[in-house]
């Protein structure tokens, strides 16, 4: 894995991979969108089930992104690998957007189904905390000018914040909540009918691929920016 973490090799490999990744992402999201609109109304939730196709993938991806952020931060901290620091830095704004989308769509789903846009229960509060962690991470990175010191401080924040991931995951078991429990990845199989599972699964994969595509582009952006900076630095030193 670390042999691909050389910036030069990363640029070559990601340059070749990107068009394919983007194409598969677009096809998956388009298929998920169409199947979502074709799905019949749920016998209890009516057409609000269509919000699930947006809400659940956004929330999954928001948590997956935090896993990536924490993992990259760990590698950056332990192995002092600059590309891991870059990957972590580039993950945060993406994760923040997916988290915000999960919160807003969840709220729009909660109003008709629960009778309220918001409730301070374990799942919703811990998920709001996820957004605050992302925003805090971004703010901390912007507050420290030195690149290496910023990366180290951010990595520590990211790792401490990782404790929130299991809290989000198990919040629906630990505390009473309006939010439904795990209904897909459970022993005994999913509790959701196939007509709903397909668009949900496709969007879940599509959102994850979109996150990975955008992450790859953002890492490339950061590498270009650092290359530009090093050229300028060389000119100043001459």
């Amino acid at each position: 894995m670390f042999e691909f973490a050389n910036p030069k090799r990363f640029m070559d490999l990601s340059g070749q991979l990107l068009p394919w990744l983007a194409a598969v992402t677009a096809v998956t999201l388009a298929a998920g969108l169409v199947l979502g609109f074709l799905a019949p109304p749920d016998y209890q939730q009516g057409d609000t089930v269509k919000i699930m196709f947006l809400h659940v993938p956004a929330a999954w991806t928001a948590m997956f992104a935090y896993g990536v952020l924490a993992f990259a931060s760990l590698i950056g901290l332990v192995n002092r690998h600059p590309l891991a620091d870059v990957a972590a830095k580039c993950t945060a704004p993406l994760g923040a957007v997916f988290t915000a989308l999960g919160l807003v769509t969840g709220s729009l789903w909660g109003r008709p189904m629960w009778g309220t846009y918001w409730v301070w229960d374990g799942r919703l509060t811990s998920f709001l905390l996820l957004l605050l962690l992302y925003l805090g991470y971004i703010a901390l990175g912007n507050a420290i000018e030195d690149e290496v010191r910023a990366a180290r401080a951010c990595a520590i924040l990211a790792l401490v914040g990782a404790v929130n991931l299991p809290i989000i995951e198990f919040s629906v078991d630990w505390w009473t909540t309006l939010h439904q429990g795990e209904s897909i990845f459970r022993a005994g199989g999913p509790l959701i009918a196939g007509v709903f599972l397909w668009p949900l699964g496709l969007n879940g994969i599509g959102y994850t691929l979109l996150f990975l595509t955008l992450l790859m582009i953002r890492i490339r952006t950061e590498i270009f920016e650092r290359r530009a900076r090093s050229v300028l630095l060389l000119e100043v030193m001459r």
Binding site: I51, L101, L108, P112, I217, R220, F224, E225, A228
Partner: protein
């Protein structure tokens, strides 16, 4: 068609969900691509000037 738009009476919740998702993800894609193009052009220009 109007049945589809009505979303079984839940149009006021379903369509804003799709709108906010399209705006959020579309904005994220647009921002990512534009800053990529800018950074790439700048790096190439500086490296060429130096070479």
């Amino acid at each position: 068609m109007s049945d589809f738009l009505a979303m079984g009476g839940y149009a006021a919740f379903v369509w804003p969900s799709y709108a906010v998702t399209v705006i959020g993800l579309g904005g994220l894609i647009g921002w990512t691509l534009s800053s990529y193009a800018r950074a790439k052009a700048r790096a190439k220009a500086l490296e060429e000037r130096r070479a």
